[in-house]
Amino acid sequence: MDVSKDAADIVLLEKDLLVLANGIEEGRKIFGNTTKYILMGTSSNFGNMFSAAAASIFLPFLPMLPMQILFMNLLYDIANMTLPTDNVDEEFTKWPQRWDIGFIRKFTLFFGPFSSLYDFLTFGIMLFVFNASTLERAALFQTGWFVESFWTEVLIMFVIRTRRIPFVTSRPGKWLTVLTLSCVAFGTILPFTIFGSFMGFTPLPTEYWILLILMVATYLFLVDAGKVFYYKICGL
């Protein structure tokens, strides 16, 4: 008995072959959620690197303080902690999927600059609408970019996680939704708190929040349409 167990590739603990099917499905879900994380991480990091590099050329101050960047990454990672519990679309678990580095590369190249576009737009609004182009007003610029960057980085998770229509035909996991929205709420109220001022943030004007809501809504619709375009031209 022990010899056959040692020689076996798989040992069933229940008298039911469905255990194998469930195991395969669970494995595909894990693979699906891992792929989502990689797609989100690579594309948003690529975009942020793009924006930070360009901003450091033309700005007389740092576009975001190191402490603020680290804190944003921490919040982003907290929001991502529940990603393994997220729902995976049925069509993804129906068939075996393959690790396709070419697909990830193309996805990153195409979707990375989307967040850059909105970072640059935020820079424009901060510099030319709110006149945050001097060292004295650097905190306003940094706060504006922190909030925009955090909103776009976290909320995009709901769009990229599925090929279907987000929330309508593909619902995200309950815990992912709760934790992500809580993190967004925290990031939003942060500039108004004492902890926020310790981190170098300053309260943002009301007009900025209106522009930000419009901008982020357009960004999410743009990435969703970009997703449709991307899969169409890829012939997938």
Binding site: F58, W95, F110, L121, G124, L127, Y231, I233, G235, L236
Partner: protein, 119 residues
């Protein structure tokens, strides 16, 4: 509103570059998928009609329109133009996504589909 021209020029170059990069990435992906399709069909070259390319790239034209909207609205400092333009673009993007969304499953390795499907 006074605008620092030098800073504004930098900003226009940066924001335009992100759209140009996206468009170039789109063209690269498009050309790559056409090449793969031709390979699968054992043909050396598949002719693509110019009108099809224009239609396939509607999304890129929307991107360029968005770029113009953002540059103009920030240059003249009009929040109203910015807001209206964004709402109009959102409507256009929803229409585009609804019309073009395919109900296909994500790419699966064709070799495995029949062989290892347990359903």
């Amino acid at each position: 509103m006074t605008v620092d021209l030098r800073l504004f020029d930098w900003w226009v170059i940066s924001i335009s570059w992100s759209i140009v990069f996206m468009s170039l990435a789109g063209i690269y992906i498009y050309a790559d998928s056409k090449k793969k399709n031709a390979k699968m069909k054992n043909r050396h070259h598949v002719k693509t009609r110019p009108l099809t390319v224009v239609k396939d790239f509607v999304f890129v034209w929307v991107l360029f329109a968005l770029l113009i909207l953002y540059i103009v609205s920030i240059n003249i400092g009009s929040s109203m133009l910015f807001a209206v333009g964004n709402i109009f673009t959102e409507a256009a993007l929803i229409i585009y996504a609804v019309k073009n969304r395919t109900g296909k499953r994500p790419a699966a390795d064709a070799r495995y589909v029949k062989k290892y499907s347990y359903r």
